[in-house]
Symmetry: none
Subunit: 370 residues, 2 copies
Amino acid sequence: VVDRPDLSSFIFPAIVDRGEVVVAIGTAGASPVLARRLRERIESLVPARIGELAALMSRYRCRVAAIKSTISPRLFWQRVIDGPIADLALSGRSREAEGALARAIETAGRGRRESETGTVFLVGAGPGDPDLLTLRALQVLQDADIVFYDELVAAGVLERARRDAERVFVGKRRGAPGIGQGEINRKLVQAAHAGRRVVRLKGGDPFVFGRGGEELEALRAAGVPVVVVPGVTAALGCAAEAGLPLTYRSEASRVTFVTAQQAKGAAPIDWSALADRTTTVVIYMGLAEAETVRDGLIAAGRAPSTPAAVLARGTRPDAQSAVGRLDELPALAAAVGEGPALLVVGNVVARSTPWLAEAARAAADVQDAA
Amino acid sequence: VVDRPDLSSFIFPAIVDRGEVVVAIGTAGASPVLARRLRERIESLVPARIGELAALMSRYRCRVAAIKSTISPRLFWQRVIDGPIADLALSGRSREAEGALARAIETAGRGRRESETGTVFLVGAGPGDPDLLTLRALQVLQDADIVFYDELVAAGVLERARRDAERVFVGKRRGAPGIGQGEINRKLVQAAHAGRRVVRLKGGDPFVFGRGGEELEALRAAGVPVVVVPGVTAALGCAAEAGLPLTYRSEASRVTFVTAQQAKGAAPIDWSALADRTTTVVIYMGLAEAETVRDGLIAAGRAPSTPAAVLARGTRPDAQSAVGRLDELPALAAAVGEGPALLVVGNVVARSTPWLAEAARAAADVQDAA
């Protein structure tokens, strides 16, 4: 122990253990509770796979020390830790990380630097409550040089980014056209090619109605390293808040996420596939389409008395919901105000939190009697 | 040092020093550079005056231990740390902090005896990687007195719980029957009635095939306060890892989660609802049912050449996947080994990460030509 010789007899009641990497927290016996609370904070910021990264670095230590080049081993390792090699290792892609490290050593030995393209992280921002970010998302936000975000990302989430990260809005404002997917893709590629660590924050999960797939492909095509960090999609966040189980044994044996906003030129929504009584249907971005949804599902054979809910701004401070029957969906949608909202249709709605569900239960009774 | 006796001979090249509070970071010699980088991160989140807070708590330790009340010293100190007393101390108003602490001890000593029912948290443990826990889930785990978990919860996630929380396994072991849902419900209610802070950890999200709905109802019926903390369900975690967008504009306009393991007495799975080419189908717990899934989907009209993937132990260190065509599903399932696994069927599989997707892309070409 270098700095504090007395540490060898120090008591560490709280340990963050990541294999080769260990963080020990001590309070000189003053307060184990305080030590644990501190540990919780540190836990959230130390990546789970940092031990694997340390092990990888350990294996290549001698080879790096032997590099005949102007670059010092310390500088070399700093670049590894701050660059795509660490990004790959920390996201579990250890074979790729090792390959990239071996190439970087070879390149450094020839006196050149690997091209400095930064990594782009496509990150799920979750449903709104900043505490519903994943630990990985927080880590990545804390390391970001630049954050691209849109209108579905809650302000509290954006605040969790590194204080001096640049923030760029790429969403749609009311009454104004958005900047377009092609332009967003170009901005992401450009920032990465400038060597910056880029976070693309998307409401919910990047791969559920987030057009994350298109961004992933554009970045791959440009040779930019990409890591996808999943998030709690709105349906899960809102369901948890409303106490509304999306599946329920034989009563709801499947759940379908569908969007009412179709891409241009797409076929109209095939509601018939959602006729099954045991399918819970969650409609994203459906507030303005409540009539279409109601008509489509009833025409497909869902009972007009099927319990239905509208969950608006779920997990945010101004969350609001309305519960009733499928045939009342437009009225329910009109009752909750604006902002991101989900429509949920299915018998499980009648099981949601009592103060939500009274109306729905009555509706279900009607349906069962029918 | 309690848990890791080897720490006494551990080298800590980086120290965060706040007087009575010390955080030591070690990497077993693997990388001092990594340890220092970690120290920078930790420095930024350990309050400057935390040593003063620890010293204050230390001075009042015996008086708090002597409080005659139902409140435990641990709970008392937790409230201090999370409340205005700590805020005062950390902002340098130490005299006010000390006065407030003295008053809080006096008030607690007059506290009436009131048996308090503990809260039960139904918590989504995410897909496996502990960094995919939400911040809220981590907070709740760090405060838990007792944690009930099952076989779908990864070991690394369970390790994030408070060190001295009791851990109770309530899942199924291979070849042995589980303890049954009714018995789990009873255990949860009993622990809450004993005044404990209870976490019920469930793989993925509690409301997606987790039987969280049933536990919620049992707890409500017993008058136990319940909070549901959502999680990243396996489909989202595995899709992010595989670079597999679950929706993709007009190509995949909806996604359905279904389980191949039906509850007793449930109707057989209605595959016809999954025939639509633009529906991505994710089958949970489907490894043993790959033949049924293949036959059902093909009989319903999905092309045998539809791209399909099996993602096993996704986001865990031993994750493994196999990609091919729907008609090869049983072979793909046989290739990945045991453990939790998802089957994914749909054209988007052909868009997944290149090293996964070559086979799938070939399959999609065949399908498009057909």
